[in-house]
């Protein structure tokens, strides 16, 4: 990117289609997943260290605020997984038209809603 071509693309002035929101949030959720992995590793460590540390972990996760936090974290992770699955399906050549992309993005948001409900139902 050293050719100095003028760039006339100010995203903040545009009304973005749903497909753009799906794409941007795939990136945002991916970046968020990096610190989330530190949390996963920390939880994995405490869960395997000993029965005592496992129980301490379970007790701490039963607090309402902790549950809300874990549900949000798992929802972000599941969003990134689902968006990734959509991406792989599109790599295979399905839903590559604009209409297909819109349907895919809607399905992605719907599936994320379902996974949020399932995660909440499981953890609460």
């Amino acid at each position: 990117m050293k050719d100095g071509r003028p760039v006339n693309l100010d995203i903040s002035t545009m009304k973005l289609p749903i497909t753009a929101w799906a794409s941007i949030s795939h990136r945002v959720s991916g970046i968020l997943t990096i610190p989330i992995f530190a949390l996963f590793l920390w939880v994995l460590q405490l869960s395997l260290e000993s029965k005592e540390s496992f129980q301490i972990l379970q007790e701490n996760f039963s607090a309402p605020l902790a549950k809300v936090f874990i549900i949000l974290v798992l929802t972000v992770y599941s969003y990134h997984l689902l968006a990734g699955i959509k991406h792989l399906i599109m790599d295979l050549g399905y839903g590559e038209t604009f209409e297909g992309g819109v349907i895919g993005a809607k399905l992605l948001f719907a599936c994320t809603g379902i996974s949020f409900i399932l995660i909440s139902w499981w953890l609460w």
């Binding site: 990117m1 050293k2 992995f37 530190a38 994995l44 395997l48 997984l81």
Partner: protein, 119 residues
């Protein structure tokens, strides 16, 4: 050619990003299918310390590191650039990539220690 590309080639980055995603998806489903029906310590520790599962965890850890690196590289080369941030963009991007490399190295060592029971 940008030396900070994971494999110094766009095609192998492209393939590795997808292969690692499939590994992590399979791993996430495997862990979920073990932990959802039985959340006891006994079941969890027996499941996670089987040799094949330790191997699978290590593979998923490596996939996570490759996937994170390629993903962060792609995002940084789009937003932390000379065009977006002026002359500082280039150096800031390299700085963030180095930080990312250090973080992922910590994840790798920490993860291997946990998975193989050294801590």
């Amino acid at each position: 050619m940008n030396v900070t590309v994971f494999n110094r080639s766009g095609i192998s980055d492209w393939i590795l990003q997808r292969a690692s995603s499939v590994i992590m998806l399979a791993y996430s489903l495997t862990v979920a299918s073990a932990v959802i029906p039985d959340t006891s310590y006994e079941a969890w520790s027996v499941f996670m310390t089987q040799t094949w599962m330790r191997g699978f965890s290590t593979l998923a850890l490596l996939a996570m590191i490759a996937h994170s690196w390629i993903g962060v590289w792609a995002v940084l080369t789009d937003y932390v650039t000379v065009r977006m941030l002026g002359s500082l963009g280039e150096r800031l991007r390299l700085f963030l990539l180095v930080l990312m490399g250090i973080l992922l190295l910590v994840y790798l060592l920490w993860g291997v220690f946990i998975i193989w029971g050294f801590i």
